[in-house]
């Protein structure tokens, strides 16, 4: 036989535990929209059963149950999907940041249009042809000089804008490195809190959620690998170099490749170069050092080839003033290209003639006009190739972003499927636990009435 107060104790524990479970449901509902929150569940278990003592054997057929207890509060989390999510999200952010940059380059080049460099190049050679037809007309010469100046300005502007874009990306690298350091410090701090909680055997669910969210954010900036430690803390590495070890952080820092150059990302401890594998920072550095630098080099090539070829012919010609040996363009690349000041000051100095004293001689102008198809590659062809390369690069990155977005969304759905709060589910749980709570309260009433009977109404025979 169990003791008289046994049932009262059991019912009390049931009441308390159902209340705990309802509290967990409250917590889940309250955080239904909290980023990074994993829904929590109570692991309910029976308490140790009780075998009633007897002289020979138990006077009862078996052990008697002693009720319920909340053994642990666990969070629903699929750790393997977390790993996949972070790897793919690093790749996505790299592609996204590249896409941003390349779209800006596309806006800068503004092709196809009636105002882009291609249109200016297309007007440059006709202006020379017009000079071939009318070598003595001042208006035609002025138009040629004007058109050439516009072309040079287009080259200058495009070059400046691409350089500004590189500089901008470089600044973003600096900002993001600071952000990485801040996230790393927060993760290290949470590591400490988790270790403190879990050393007592509890689960630090909400701290772990917060740390997972920070890891998500960190992996958007830079590709990382995460390793769990036995005490609940984690280590984070970039490539093979540790960024966070338990509670210590090896900060990142940036150094310039050269005075006035671009930023490189290094570890503060040993100044070793950070090996980038995914993340926004890698996208920014790729755009800066490979894509945009490549376009700039091609643009300089187009401008430089044109300047060299036009000047080589122009210096052999004679202006209307009979002077030979003048260059037409000054400068050597897209950034420095300009119509030579002497020519700009007086268009009659444009050297259209192959001999002095022949005003209608436009043999040199014809040779320059024919550069359109005698140069190899032609300036327009080389520039079109640059635009096509940009188009192909940008389209490839756009497709990568689309594919990768799909993949990351799928993984996020998988995480959500495990960790996300379902309000329907919580509503059902609430009903379930509320009923159990009510029933436990009724148990107390029943026990109370039994005790009342025993204490107040027993032993009154014959009164």
């Amino acid at each position: 036989m169990s003791g008289a107060f046994f049932g009262l104790d059991l019912a009390l524990r049931a009441l308390q535990d159902q209340q705990t479970v309802i509290d967990i449901t409250n917590h889940n509902v309250a955080n239904a929209n909290t980023p990074g929150f994993s829904r929590q569940t109570a692991a309910l278990g029976t308490t140790t059963p009780y075998t009633l003592p007897g002289t020979n054997r138990s006077p009862q057929p078996g052990q008697i149950g002693t009720g319920v207890s909340v053994e642990a509060i666990q969070r629903a989390r699929d750790v393997f999907t977390d790993l996949q999510y972070r790897t793919e999200s690093s790749t996505l952010e790299r592609a996204k940041s590249l896409q941003d940059s390349l779209e800006q380059v596309e806006v800068t080049l503004n092709e196809p249009s009636d105002t882009g460099l291609s249109a200016q190049l297309a007007k440059f050679f006709p202006a020379w042809q017009e000079l071939v037809n009318n070598p003595t007309e001042d208006a035609v010469r002025a138009t040629l000089v004007q058109q050439s100046a516009t072309l040079a300005t287009s080259f200058n502007k495009t070059s400046q804008q691409l350089t500004a874009l590189q500089k901008n990306l470089d600044d973003q690298v600096g900002v993001n490195v600071a952000q990485i350091n801040s996230l790393a410090n927060q993760i290290a701090a949470i590591n400490r809190q988790i270790v403190q909680v879990e050393v007592t055997g509890d689960h630090a669910n909400d701290f772990r959620d917060r740390r997972d969210l920070l890891l998500d954010q960190l992996s958007e900036l830079i590709g990382i690998t995460v390793q769990d430690n036995a005490n609940g803390s984690i280590n984070v590495s970039i490539g093979s170099h540790a960024l966070i070890q338990n509670q210590t952080v090896d900060q990142l820092t940036t150094t310039l490749t050269a005075p006035g150059g671009f930023r490189e990302v290094r570890f503060a401890s040993d100044s070793s170069l950070v090996s980038l594998n995914g993340g926004k920072v890698q996208g920014e550095i790729l755009a800066r050092d490979q894509y945009i630098a490549g376009y700039l080099a091609k643009l300089d090539q187009v401008a430089g080839d044109l300047i060299t070829a036009v000047n080589a012919l122009h210096t052999t010609g004679y202006g209307l003033d009979g002077v030979s040996g003048r260059p037409f363009f000054s400068g050597s690349d897209a950034a420095t290209m300009a119509v030579d000041p002497a020519i700009a000051a007086d268009p009659r100095r444009v050297a259209a003639a192959s001999a002095a004293g022949q005003p209608a001689n436009s043999a040199v102008a014809l040779q320059i006009a024919q550069l359109r198809h005698t140069l190899s590659p032609t300036p327009e062809g080389a520039y079109t190739a640059l635009v096509s390369t940009l188009g192909v690069d940008s389209a490839a990155v756009r497709d990568e972003v689309a594919n990768q977005t799909g993949l990351v969304q799928l993984l996020d759905r998988r995480r959500q499927s495990t960790s996300g709060v379902s309000l329907d589910e919580e509503a059902v749980n609430l009903v379930r636990f509320q009923r159990a709570y009510e029933a436990a309260a009724r148990l107390i009433t029943a026990n109370d009435e039994m005790l009342d009977k025993l204490i107040n109404e027993t032993g009154r025979v014959g009164r």
């Binding site: 297309a122 635009v387 495990t418 996300g420």
Partner: protein, 294 residues
Amino acid sequence: MRISTRMLSDTLINNLQANLQRLEQTQNELSSGKRLRKPSDDPAAVGRALIYRTDLATGNQYLSTIQSSLDWLNANETALASMTENLQRVRELAVQGGNDTLDQNGMADIAAEVDQLLQHMVSLGNADLRGQRLFAGLKTDANPFTLNAGPPTTVTYNGDAGQMVREIDRGVTVTINIPGSTFLPAAFTALTNLRDHLRAADSAAVRADISSVDAALGGVLAARGNVGALTNRVQAAQDRQEGLNAEIQKLLSNVEDTDFTDAITRAAAQENVYKAALGVGAKAIQSSLLDYLR
């Protein structure tokens, strides 16, 4: 798969966003009339469009060169036609002057007219188009022929033998000028001689001059023939270039202009999908078990 409450709204937002992006692209195609906005829209097509645009600009320039060459050749033809008339009149006068029936006064009258014609011939030799002398070689800024009254009367040439070369098609060049020194001095000499023989009333010499006038006429006619042939060639290039430009324009339009039938159909379909997604999504995210619990 277990569906959490947020998954519904996340999925709805993602899909609405994707629908809107497609719709925006199509509407932009429709409102701008252009299929290509940036190189990545269709890199190969953008490359072709740029090449067609360049080809079109080149073609237009050839057309402009052709037109200015034709203007020049027409001016040449006009001047040469006047020279022909002039020399034909001279020939008539030479035949008349070679007739033994004329007295000295009659010969002198004819000589006076030939002298006028000689001066006219020199001014025709100095003819210009917008200030550019037609027959001066490349020294087009000054009159190529100067008449020195003499005696003896001479005509000096101050021009040169320079050639005006024009490119009327890729790699195709034509020389559009005839330096006056190649055919006019013979005419001036013939006219001067004829006038002097008429003044001297030497009818036998006048008759002999007819053949040199004929030769001079032949020289002018040969020049006219050259100009005519050249005009035909340049006009043929013009026809070809105009046809080519129309063709390139069509290709360019095919590459970069919106196909309206296709785009309107797409826009309608995309709008329907978007509206359906809105309708279904709005209902799905509103309902919950809580609506039905008492």
